[in-house]
């Protein structure tokens, strides 16, 4: 029976020859993940199950990244609970402040997730790892607790939607623009409970960082997972990095999709998603006059080295506008070190930006850049919901790192060409 890549991975994890959309399966998981917000609830639930140990101490990753370095006493208590559990369970993949990163930048970088893996994480952006040709999806804390005990979880096999991207990307157009454009076309529930498979010649030329960005935001269209068939670019990324053996699955040519979309990417401009939903995407040329108070470059969506290089390319020789705060947040300690070595921090500091230690911080209105009433922020993050970055009457505009950097310079939402 012909299958999609998602179906093949799930079939293998369930010990079956094949699976069909709608089928309920029990699947082994290769890695489970929690953070400082979701893990405390999971730990409490885990303790009710009545087992002493997690199923595999090497396959439970805990990353305190949301409200860390601890932003207040309550957050410190939550982080402490996660730390103590990790030590008590002797988890090999607990990442302390100073050795950590934003979870979805960190786990691929550390080789903890790889092609054909099945990964669940108590964080909705766990779908990021689909960029490696893995099946990865977000769950809640109770599901995480159950998987920490059993090493398996249940899934309803999702139907798949195929997105085929044709053509050459424009100079300032990247993975962020492709995914914002896609969500703009299908809406925030356009892929509800479905697998979003990204393919086509444009994707084949897209870097791993760009692919992570695209799969990261599958959840913003309601998707269960985002996925890209692994290829030579994937191989170069995982070789010598991914710690477990891996398999490259591809979709059969006659696999079934509920819908197939074709997009001509040569016609796609840098995108900006207006408040208060990611589906409100429009070309930056149609943004109009939108003055901003803050720009944030970072997050699990766009906090990788390529993103920082792109921002630096725009900021070099430029100054952040007098009325704007620019906050740059490298995704992991490794990315931080790399950016420092490449001299990117010099460029950011010369421009008048602040560079933060890795944290999810402002993306979810936690800390490190909260907005006051009426303030506007352009951000390379993933959500622009009401109150997402602070006051319920503040606004977030989503864009790629070049657009965010250019806007920080002009003080209003701008095309990168405006400042070069």
């Amino acid at each position: 029976m012909p299958m999609t890549i998602t179906e093949k991975i799930l079939a293998a994890a369930a010990g079956k020859d094949s699976v069909k959309p709608g089928e309920l399966i029990n699947a082994r998981v290769d890695l489970v993940l929690g953070n400082d917000i979701t893990a405390p609830v999971a730990i409490k639930e885990f303790q009710k199950i009545g087992v002493d140990r997690v199923w595999d101490k090497d396959r439970v990753a805990l990353v305190p990244d949301h409200f860390t370095p601890n932003k207040d006493i309550k957050s410190a208590e939550q982080a402490k609970m996660v730390r103590e559990f990790a030590h008590q369970q002797e988890l090999s993949n607990y990442f302390e402040v100073g050795r950590m990163g934003i979870e979805h930048c960190l786990l691929p970088e550390q080789g903890l997730v790889g092609p054909a893996d099945v990964i669940i994480g108590a964080d909705s952006h766990t779908c990021t790892y689909g960029a490696l040709g893995a099946f990865a999806t977000g769950v809640g804390s109770t599901d995480l607790a159950a998987a920490m005990a059993l090493g398996e979880t249940w899934f309803k096999v999702p139907e798949s939607i195929k997105f085929v991207f044709h053509g050459q990307l424009g100079k300032w157009v990247g993975g962020k623009d492709l995914i914002l454009y896609t969500i703009g076309q299908i809406g925030v529930d356009g892929a509800l409970y479905k697998a979003m498979e990204f393919s086509g010649e444009t994707i084949r030329q897209l870097s791993m960082d760009g692919r992570f960005t695209m799969c990261n935001m599958a959840i913003e269209a309601g998707g269960k997972n985002g996925i890209i068939e692994p290829d030579e670019i994937t191989r170069q990324y995982v070789e010598g990095r991914t710690k477990r053996p891996y398999t490259f699955y591809t979709s059969d040519p006659d696999a079934e999709y509920t819908q197939v979309y074709h997009f001509d990417t040569s016609k796609i401009e840098p995108q900006v998603a207006f408040p208060h939903l990611p589906e409100n995407a429009r070309p930056v040329s149609q943004a109009g006059q939108v003055e901003i108070d803050q720009a944030v470059i970072g997050s699990c969506t766009n906090g990788r080295i390529e993103d920082l290089r792109l921002a630096a390319e725009i900021l070099k020789g430029n100054k952040v506008n007098q009325r704007v705060r620019l906050i740059v947040i490298p995704g992991t300690q490794e990315i931080y070190r790399q950016a420092m070595r490449e001299g990117l921090f010099e460029i950011f500091l010369d421009a008048g930006a602040v560079v933060s230690t890795p944290t999810c911080g402002p993306c979810l209105g936690g800390h490190m850049g909260i907005l006051a009433k009426g303030e506007r922020c352009i951000a390379t993050t993933n959500r622009n919901f009401v109150g997402r970055m602070g006051h319920p009457e503040s606004e977030v505009y989503l864009a790629n790192p070049a657009v965010a950097a250019a806007s920080a310079v002009t003080g209003r939402i701008s095309h990168p060409e405006e400042v070069l």
Binding site: T38, I49, F67, K74, G138, S141, D143, G365, R383, R388
Partner: protein
């Protein structure tokens, strides 16, 4: 399970930041989360809602984050069930796992008015509007989800499995 209460209506794409803003996620205490339930959508909601009341929303309720704090906040605020045209998938799963009844019923959402009194049988999915006398049938709950509910939630279900394995 028979539930009864007044309807509070919300629109499309009610996200998890509306249900419980991230600034309150430095706690997982249900009572504290309940005090801020729906705050950025309706700052008065937590003080107005009465035990047994129901949230009625349009499409894609609970989109966004995986935070289980969202259904926990709704349940602890005294809301007896959520009826929507559709639910975002992580929220859907979380609600079952923590024992918050949720039902999909587009017809009821189109017709029920805010403040109507509803009687809901969460087991059969029947929704009666006691104010207008109309009755609706929600989409049936999948069998497997039913097993989780019957076991008393996911953790009890897992406990049973763990005990069988030992």
């Amino acid at each position: 399970m028979k539930l009864q209460g007044k309807a509070w209506k919300f629109g499309n794409d009610v996200d998890t930041d509306i249900i419980i803003a991230a600034r309150y996620l430095n706690s997982s205490d249900p009572a504290e989360l309940a005090r801020h339930c729906m705050e950025d959508g309706d700052p008065e909601f937590a003080s107005k809602v009465q035990p047994g009341d129901m949230i009625l929303a349009a499409k894609n309720f609970g989109c966004g984050s995986s935070r289980e704090h969202a259904p926990i906040a709704i349940k602890a605020a005294g809301v007896s069930c959520v009826v929507a045209k559709s639910f975002a998938r992580i929220f859907y799963r979380n609600a079952f796992n923590i024992g918050l009844p949720i039902l999909e019923c587009p017809e009821a959402i189109d017709e029920v008015q805010e403040g109507d009194t509803l009687a809901v049988d969460a087991a059969t999915g029947t929704i009666q509007n006691l104010t207008t006398g109309k009755e609706y049938q929600a989409v049936p709950i999948p069998d497997f989800m039913r097993q989780i509910i019957d076991a008393g939630g996911l953790i009890s279900y897992v406990k049973e499995r763990v005990n069988k394995n030992v």
